[in-house]
Symmetry: C2
Subunit: 246 residues, 2 copies
């Protein structure tokens, strides 16, 4: 087959595959806008505050252990992250902790919540193109107020039918989402950067997914598993490529 035939074959296959799609779900953090680099930057500042109390190379592991230990109780987001930074600092410094250090950690958390939104390239064009043809929603984890504020600051709110903030992006919660949207699995496609949260559970429930990897990932989002082989999953290198698919 000549290469032009291959392209036609792919296009016609796509047309058939996606013809039932009614709702396009977008992950938010690191899919629509920059997020993880802000957490990494906050973490660097936290490490710098404590570098004289503990080997700075060991600190990220110490903080991550606190976060994982608190996840069932705190969930995701900047408030949980702030509480875990404080708890880690107290564990490391013990009685010699200073009020000033705690104040600085609280300020780091507030600055993280108050950060301006930086849209990823091509996002607005994709939303403009898809809007009207599909019902667009955001499906995100994290803190309710935090995510609502980010959406508001992003200027993108008008493109979305609604925002679904989930406490965990697992199969059960995606199934609830479909029930709530009153659609079947083959009427939903999810676009996101996290294999663990945006792709695998969505494929498991029989829906479609487009993976748009991001250069920085939170350790928790890494699966270490091979990419699943299914024609319901496509990977693209930039979100702008989505307009050629849907």
């Amino acid at each position: 087959m000549r290469s032009i035939d291959v392209i036609f074959a792919i296009i016609s296959k796509s047309d058939t595959m996606y013809r039932n799609i009614k709702v396009v779900g977008f992950d938010a953090d690191d899919t629509l806008w920059v997020n993880e680099p802000n957490y990494k930057e906050t973490e660097r500042r936290f490490i710098s505050l404590l570098k004289n109390r503990m080997n700075p190379d060991l600190l990220p592991k110490e903080l991550y252990a606190t976060e994982m230990n608190n996840l069932h109780l705190y969930g995701y987001g900047a408030k949980s992250f702030t509480l875990s930074m404080i708890e880690t600092a107290v564990r490391i410094c013990g009685e010699s902790i200073s009020g000033n250090l705690i104040e600085k950690i609280i300020a780091l958390g507030k600055a993280l919540m108050d950060k301006p939104i930086e849209l990823l390239e091509g996002v607005e064009a994709v939303l403009k193109k898809l809007n009207g043809n599909y019902r667009l929603i955001i499906a995100t984890k994290g803190d309710l107020l935090d995510q609502e504020r980010k959406l508001k600051k992003s200027g993108l709110a008008g493109h979305f039918h609604h925002i679904e903030i989930m406490s965990e992006k697992n199969e059960a919660q995606y199934q609830n989402l479909l029930k709530h949207l009153d659609i079947k699995p083959d009427e939903f496609i999810m676009i996101g950067n996290s294999m663990r949260s945006d792709i695998l559970p969505v494929l498991e429930i029989g829906s479609y997914a487009i993976h748009v990897p991001y250069h920085t990932n939170w350790e928790h989002e890494l699966t270490g598993e091979p990419t699943p082989q299914t024609n319901r999953l496509l990977s693209v290198s930039a979100i702008s490529e989505v307009t050629g698919i849907l």
Copy 2:
């Protein structure tokens, strides 16, 4: 008019008034289950930790000021409350704060989040009676994971079509809720204990409300305003009375 006539008059009026209702919204905290007393108890323990550092009579005001100052950034819920307790303690103790004190405050916050659920009397009977005749939802403020966990622990989840966790219970967010539920204002009635969050904004958008006062209220929920005079509002002394109305 004899009293029996009055009752008939009320019943027939109710029948007409509520005949369009499709969705019944329930507030959660202090409407379905005990909440504010748990916060008050946590506050008492916090005060007891700091009573040697500041006049205990002034401490609640100091904590409340921190909470109000952080509300725009943190929103509602136990994580926000924990962060505000820590910030208040650092402000009061300054450099002489101890790691042990911070640890105890973090533990108070975690215990608050992990508290068992105590249902208010009559709640289950009301939900059983209304379920089937109406679409029942929860409309609550607070932290996403925290509220989901409470609903799960309550054993009431099966009665509800869905749970709407709002970052603020104001007119705009109730209007979004109606849009999202695809219903008109006169098809919605809200049941709750807070005049400020459950009743006033709901009446403002033209819906119905039933006020079920609770013996303890958070200062922030008090309006100080007189009860609005409208036949779209009913007040009852216990939630069990709702079955005589809807």
